[in-house]
Amino acid sequence: MTGAPEVVIAGLGFSPFSGDRVDASVRDMVVEAVLAALSDGGIDIADVQHGLASYESDHFNRQMTLGAILHDSIAMCPKPTVRIEGGGATGALAMRTAWAYVKSGLCDSIIVYGGEQNGKSVTSATAQQLFALSSDADWEMMVGGTYTGYYATMIREHMRLYGTTEAQFAHIAVKNRRNARSNPIAQKPMDITVADVMASPPVAEPYKLLDCSLLSDGAAAIILSTQEWARSHSSRWASRPPVHFVATGCGTDFMRLGDRPRTYPGLAHFRGKREASQQAYMMAGIKEPLKEIDVAELYDSYSGAELQAYEELGFCEYGQGGPAAESGMFDLDGQLPVNTSGGLLGRGAPVGATGIAQAGEIALQLWNEAGGRQVPGARRGLTDTHAGTGTICVTNIFERRD
């Protein structure tokens, strides 16, 4: 895209992620995140040209066309907006779409605001039911299928093919909750051991309670713009190293695991994730991701899904995700720290905010503002986000350019 502008992060903000924000509706939380993002960037909302609403579910949020309400709640009318939905990948797809809006010249600045009420305003059984509606509702939900069940089916096949063990993915459940301890927005920072994970109650074998990500209330907002716009409209811009949004990729697969080609991806692999990352690596000129990426936020909806993501993203060979997790190479002090924020397991996962929050964590790392979880000298970071069981996958890559 010769002549297209560079896209930068001009500001970001979060509401706290919580299992039960009794004092806030989804619009309240999005307003909190937007105010935080404007304050972070030293930006006046009057200067922002475009909006983008990121949320998944009318069922959870109890409001259709929520995007219009979010937009009017943050003083953006009568400027343009659009709503993006892509299941679990909603927030990352929102970032990718906003990138394209700026890259194409449609606008010089865009505020991506996302949130969800997935916390305790409904029972856990109702939450699982509502999420199951985002699987094949005619064929799989009706026989009792839920996402924990589908992911369990996938990791069992990974265990059968490669000898992956429950202790190996339990290591990820421990790591991410430990990382969450130094993230002020995190919902569930915990100091636990592999034995604690192994002893937690079964949910869908081989997944146990502590292998599962959180049901969360929360919101996140990011302002993307051209460098020129940031220079003239963000009072914070000059005091921070510039962080560019340099590459994006998107891949897909069949909704039903059983409809996917049998040899690859089969039941054990996320083909769409490989597709998305290959596109993004090509755009960013990355050939050896393990060496060329300094920090990554991966979609740990279940502990084993992070292990499977290591392989699809090319951080290790197929079948090596388990030993790699156990080796500590993805720990905070490892070769490539993964989910420094705590991930979906520790920070939380309000769906529409998740992909935005992942990008926010990477930006904080590249700005050297990640506090106790800072990866020293991080210059390039990646987010990996997916819907369903890898039905829609998005890889976004960010670089510090100073």
């Binding site: 699982q128 009706m142 369990a152 069992r156 096949e157 949910v203 869908a204 997944y207 059983g258 409809d259």
Partner: protein, 204 residues
């Protein structure tokens, strides 16, 4: 000043709003002192009970014949005569080459490709937990099919690769997909545990 309802931490329910659960003064999630909390004047919260129910007349569309055949104890898939692929669950259009497919009958025999023991059921589907959610490779199909495995005896006896067979419901069911499920298949006798199927109360 008008009479105030009780608004203690877990306050008394007011007597004029039937749906009210409680009111409370919520803490600042960032744990700032009240003087530094920008939302201090907005921390008084009312929680109400909200019930919405919908009823749908739901069409099973172009896959209806699959469900009608289950009533006759037949398992139908669709076959693409152009690319040779057999879809199960059936698809009216081949998702590989976009040709309109044809109905074909399967034997109902297959093997367990993967499974999970799920310890809870989603809220709208009435199932006794734990149950085995099975992914099955059916003879004659190029896809895998997910359904319940019943009549397996002990959970330890459930093994990837084990032969299974479709069992059809004898009693009335609420949802047509519950006209079938899987059971282990034993060569000599056919059904491993015929009674298990009858024991299952599949209601939605």
């Amino acid at each position: 000043m008008a009479e105030q309802p009780n608004t203690t931490e877990y306050g008394e329910t007011g007597n004029c709003v039937a749906s009210k659960i409680k009111t409370l003064k919520a803490p600042d999630p960032w744990k700032r002192p009240p003087a530094e909390d920008p939302w201090d004047a907005f921390r008084e919260v009312e929680l109400i009970s909200l019930d919405w129910e919908q009823h749908y007349r739901h069409s099973l569309g172009k896959t209806s014949r699959f469900f009608l055949a289950l009533e006759q104890g037949q398992l139908l898939a669709t076959h693409c005569t152009r690319c040779g692929f057999t879809w199960m669950p059936p698809r009216p259009v081949c998702a590989r080459c976009l040709s309109i497919t044809s109905w074909v009958e399967l034997s109902g025999r297959g093997r367990l490709a993967s499974y999970t023991v799920q310890y809870y059921a989603p809220a709208f589907v009435r199932l006794d937990a734990p149950f085995v959610l099975a992914t099955v490779e059916l003879d004659g199909a190029d896809t895998l099919f997910m359904h319940l495995l019943r009549g397996y005896g002990a959970l330890q006896d459930v093994q990837v690769g084990m032969p299974v067979h479709v069992t059809y419901a004898a009693a009335a069911v609420q949802h047509p997909l519950h006209l079938m499920w899987f059971e282990p298949f034993v060569e000599e006798t056919g059904w491993a545990d015929v009674e298990a199927g009858e024991r299952w109360q599949a209601g939605v």
